[in-house]
């Protein structure tokens, strides 16, 4: 166990980032339709498609429906995504006809900050007018968070990322708590779970507050508390995530090692 509360790859044979990807991939069921953010969510979704969920439908906001990339795309609009898709549509169509209409099963998002109600920030660190770090901004996230039937979030857990309040609320989780989504007229159910490099958090059915329900192997409740910027709610008996199988690890490493087209090295 390192000072950060993460088990080291040397000890366990895999890194905490790998554990996060694999835990997230397991949450996607075969045949589901998944709106995928770039980066960690895209890695996990493509891992799922190569392991237990070959019929998983991946949608990227660039307009690619049913993309089946061989290597992980670097951008949301890589040629590989278009070339392997069942259909490529325009950006207005992907947002209006496919996302806004509420027909997507799972929205799969990352973020720079998250709060106890799973609201997300990808806009600024610090005050909006004078940010200490200007982040990329909203992209597709606010409407993915609002309109997908449910949302799965991947984020590395630390006091920098698990904060309350957020510096900016880019995308809604459960807003200010129970009833917020309903009052806003949102039709998706909101976040089903947050998968971190330490464990898994799920919204409490009553309070909507994120509650630690699973810990990855070798991670303590204490370590998770340490890495959370508010007083972390912990479920009665957090389960231990099954360690990555050899096959999961092999698939993930192969996937990550493949260079997307256009890379020289």
């Amino acid at each position: 166990m390192s000072a950060s509360g993460r088990s080291s790859a040397e000890t366990l044979g895999y890194s905490s980032t790998e554990m996060m990807s694999i835990a997230a991939a397991r949450e996607l069921a075969d045949g589901q339709v998944c709106f995928v953010g770039i980066g960690a969510p895209s890695t996990a979704a493509n891992l799922a498609r190569r392991t237990h969920a070959p019929g998983l439908v991946l949608i990227y906001e660039s307009g690619c429906i049913g993309a089946k990339p061989t290597a992980l795309p670097l951008s949301i609009g890589d040629g590989e995504l278009a070339d392997t898709a069942d259909a490529v549509v325009t950006v207005p169509e992907i947002f209006n006809y496919w996302l806004q209409s509420g027909r997507i099963d799972v929205g799969f998002l990352g973020a720079a900050q998250i709060d106890r109600f799973a609201n997300l920030n990808t806009t600024v660190i610090g005050p909006y007018e004078h940010p200490s770090v200007r982040l990329p901004g909203a992209g597709g996230a606010p409407e993915i968070a609002a309109s997908c039937k449910e949302v799965v979030i991947m984020i590395k857990q630390s006091r920098r990322t698990f904060v309350d309040p957020l510096d900016f609320r880019t995308s809604i989780g459960f807003g200010d708590g129970p009833g917020s989504r309903e009052r806003l007229g949102l039709r998706g159910r909101g976040p089903r779970m947050v998968i971190t490099d330490l464990g898994i958090l799920r919204p409490d059915p009553e309070t909507c507050e994120l509650t630690l329900t699973d810990l990855h192997p070798g991670v303590s409740v204490e370590a998770a508390r340490e890495a959370t910027g508010w007083e972390l709610a912990v479920g009665p008996a957090p389960k231990v995530t099954p360690a990555p199988t050899d096959s999961e690890l092999a698939h993930l490493r192969r996937l990550v090692s493949l260079r997307p087209e256009g890379n020289s090295k």
């Binding site: 070339d83 909006y128 990329p136 992209g139 989504r181 256009g262």
Partner: protein, 271 residues
């Protein structure tokens, strides 16, 4: 009817100081060469518009071309931050940059309304987020049938749209395929348009997924092979991912950035 002109001429004639300029391209077909020409011609006080400002916008902003940026996601895809974009917002270098930010859905629908001749668009968006507080261009309307409240965004009608496409024919009809983003909407929403193309063909043979902009809907077409590099043009060349990575280093300091721009943009002859 689209005129076939040089890129230099097109920018000279159609892009004026103070204009609102949409340069679209969603990862694919990003109009880099046209952006460089705008920099070389030292346009100032532009309002730049794009869903996904990346390297070319970082360069335009770092060279002081823009007073304002309308956008929804600004980053170096798969790499990280845009350092010139951040420096402008965080430190006002080289000039302060006013920003108006949306979600993709919101800015997309501003283009859709603009292309459709409507003053606004309605959508399910922004609810429960901090964006409406920061952006005066987000309001709401009530559905006259159900009473539901929806977000409203105003049409955007830029002075000029600049996009890159694979082909134009001799009459000026434009043909693009692959990921086509909101390029059609950007062109149709704008008063004027410049399309740079990889190739001039005798006759367009429509490809699967092909989108056509009829000649009479485009102002100027310029033949600029490689005009999207280091982005890609499906059917012509791949994305130069290494350059996207190296941009992170080049653009980190103001000095390295300026030096790179001198050598690779300012001192380069216009295509």
């Amino acid at each position: 009817m689209a005129e076939l002109v040089s890129l230099r001429e097109a920018v000279t004639e159609l892009v004026k100081d103070g204009d609102t300029v949409a340069m679209e391209g969603f990862s694919h077909l990003i109009p880099h060469s046209a952006g460089h020409e705008v920099i070389r011609q030292e346009r100032r006080h532009l309002t730049l518009v794009r869903l996904t400002p990346d390297l070319i916008f970082d360069q335009l902003i770092g060279m002081g071309v823009a007073d304002k940026l309308v956008f929804s996601w600004g980053g170096n895809p798969g790499v990280g931050s845009l350092h010139r974009f951040r420096d402008a917002i965080e430190n006002g270098w080289p000039t302060p940059l006013q920003i108006e930010e949306h979600s993709h859905a919101g800015l997309t629908n501003r283009f859709v309304a603009g292309a459709s001749g409507l003053p606004f668009a309605i959508l399910r968006a922004y609810a429960g987020t901090g964006l409406p507080e920061r952006v005066t261009h987000i309001k709401s309307v009530k559905c006259p049938f159900t009473g539901e409240t929806l977000a409203a965004v105003p049409a955007i009608n830029p002075d000029v749209a600049i996009v890159h496409a694979q082909q134009a024919d001799l009459r000026g009809n434009v043909h693009m395929w692959g990921i086509t983003g909101v390029q059609k909407e950007a062109v149709l929403a704008s008063s004027r348009s410049i399309v740079t193309v990889e190739e001039i063909v005798e006759r367009i043979e429509l490809r699967p997924g092909g989108v056509v902009l009829p000649a009479w809907s485009v102002t100027a077409v310029a033949h600029v092979p490689g005009g999207a590099r280091p982005s890609y043009a499906s059917g012509y060349y791949k994305r130069d991912n290494d350059f996207y990575s190296s941009w992170d280093t080049i653009s980190r300091s103001r000095e390295d950035f300026r030096e790179w721009m001198e050598k690779n943009v300012l001192e380069v002859a216009t295509p």
